[in-house]
């Protein structure tokens, strides 16, 4: 299925009216604003969405990551247990891809597709970073099994996923599969969402990287 580029106004029409945005663990996130369509949603002209603050305290999200923005920094453990921060990648383009879980069919296809095209990413001067809620041990086994040459980060509690506003699929039951391409200044230039055609993430991101 072809990916869709939606015009600006679509997001306001998809916004639930008068509904406070309370963020729960990622499996229950329902984000209407950039609802992924399974078959490709390229967000190239998104607006930032005002979200009313919730009274529950720690689940307040102040604004999701959109194109043209610099995403909030994160500090997550990689597959070897080492801390990695987003700021480390500044100066080079970086592909940050959020995926549901290690050792699931779509995520395996996606990781292997990134692996198989890794030379092209390197040629474009880009780094690749995968992020899911799995722990470092799971990432280590996953990376070893499929010989993944890039970094996998452990987003425990899906905190970064929530901060960046990665939408869920199937009425909040599945963590979304969304990829961000940041340029060398750390600014988001592409957001691509596609749950069930994971290999397309590689094509779309490479296309953009080659134009940067």
């Amino acid at each position: 299925m072809a990916s869709l580029s939606l015009p600006k106004h679509t997001f306001t029409s998809l916004l639930p009216t008068q509904t406070p945005r309370h963020y729960y663990p990622s499996s229950q996130i329902v984000s209407k604003s950039s609802n992924s369509q399974f078959y490709g949603l390229k967000l190239s002209n998104s607006t930032s969405l005002p979200i009313p603050s919730s009274s529950s305290g720690k689940n307040i999200i102040c604004g999701k990551v959109d194109k043209g923005k610099v995403p909030p920094n994160f500090n997550l453990k990689d597959q070897d247990g080492k801390s990695v921060s987003l700021s480390k990648f500044k100066g080079k383009p970086v592909v940050v891809y959020f995926y549901p879980a290690d050792e699931t069919p779509g995520c395996t296809k996606q990781a292997c597709a990134f692996r198989d095209s890794y030379e092209k990413f390197k040629k474009a001067g880009a780094q690749v970073v995968g992020i899911s809620g799995d722990d470092s041990a799971s990432h280590k086994a996953f990376a070893k099994k499929y010989k993944l040459p890039f970094t996998l980060l452990s987003d425990e509690g899906n905190k970064v996923r929530k901060e960046w506003g990665v939408p869920s699929d199937l009425f909040g039951t599945l963590p979304g599969r969304q990829t961000y391409v940041l340029d060398k200044n750390g600014v988001v230039q592409l957001i691509y969402n596609n749950q069930f055609q994971p290999e397309k993430h590689i094509d779309e991101t490479l296309k953009l990287l080659q134009s940067l």
Binding site: F38, A101, L170, T173, F196
Partner: protein, 306 residues
């Protein structure tokens, strides 16, 4: 609903004398060339009437290759009785539909309902097959025996073509009897019965359609071939795709009309992901198939001798 009771021969006590097979198997590509069991074959002198026996510990299914002349492939009177009762309930439903339609002078609606029943039977067969193929095990309540049988079927898919008719269908016929009989007794509506008769009939006979899908062109009746080629029954090629690793597609076995849609739209993959994230259940198809699942091939000559 038990659709796919397959190689139940393995745990049954009466087969213990046949369970140890020492003949070496040459692993080659095999094409199913065994005869089909399209019609019941009344061979009274070969009928096995099962005496009451004590339960015995049985070797696990994965160690036992079914012999092609195994008595567990034959129909018993119990099997025939269940098939007869299942057919009776379906025919009663059909008769009620026809009689009601004639009485009310409505034909289009019952026929349309029948068509819906035919289409939904295929979907139902796929969903059930997907569930049985991916979750649970031999010790699962109610479904354990079928799950175990499925394992056997994937390992020895050709066995189904050697089963006699009632042997193949009796488990489904039993479920249909219990499901359709109350509907026959409670309702008279011709449209409802149009749906019920066709849907339940297709489900009951899905195991026969399944067996034909494992047959070879040279050994299937021309009518069956025509129905397969026209897409009215599950085709041999479509079903053989299900028997290739990782065994995660083409689950429907009545007509297969839903297969392309379900596979292309990744419906089962989505359901698997939901069950994984919500319940922590990991489907079998996500892992490398175990030895119990991988098809065991035999030489063509061994099959030809049987």
């Amino acid at each position: 609903m038990s659709i796919f009771t397959q190689t139940k021969l393995l745990p049954s006590p009466k087969h213990h004398v046949h369970t140890i097979c020492h003949s070496p198997l040459l692993r080659t590509t095999v094409h199913c060339s065994v005869s089909t069991t399209a019609k019941p074959k009344p061979v009274p002198e070969k009928l096995i009437i099962e005496p009451p026996r004590l339960q015995q510990l049985e070797p696990s299914p994965d160690n036992i290759r079914p012999m092609l002349n195994d008595p567990s492939l034959l129909s018993t009177w119990s099997h025939r009785a269940w098939v007869a009762s299942g057919c009776t309930t379906v025919l009663i439903s059909l008769a009620k539909s026809v009689a009601g339609a004639a009485h009310s002078h409505i034909w289009a609606e019952p026929i349309l309902a029948g068509l819906v029943g035919y289409v939904l039977a295929d979907l139902g067969s796929g969903v059930y097959h997907w569930g049985i193929d991916n979750y649970g095990g031999a010790s699962t309540p109610i479904f354990g025996a079928q799950i175990e049988a499925f394992q056997g079927h994937h390992k020895w898919p050709w066995t189904i073509t050697k089963r006699q008719f009632a042997n193949n269908l009796h488990a489904l016929a039993r479920v249909i009897t219990f499901t359709v009989l109350p509907l026959d007794l409670a309702f008279d509506d011709p449209i409802l019965h149009g749906f019920v008769a066709v849907c339940s009939g297709c489900i009951m006979f899905s195991q026969q359609f399944h067996a034909w899908a494992h047959g070879t062109k040279s050994r299937l009746p021309p009518l069956v071939l025509a129905l397969q080629d026209s897409g009215l029954l599950i085709s041999r090629s479509q079903h053989s795709a299900h028997h290739r690793q990782p065994y995660n597609n083409n689950y429907c076995i009545v007509s297969g009309v839903w297969n392309e849609f379900l596979d292309k739209q990744k419906v089962f993959e989505a359901l698997e992901m939901i069950l994984f994230f919500k319940q922590g259940l990991r489907p079998r198809s996500w892992s490398e198939p175990s030895s119990e699942w991988i098809e065991e091939a035999e030489t063509i000559s061994q099959l030809a001798n049987n």
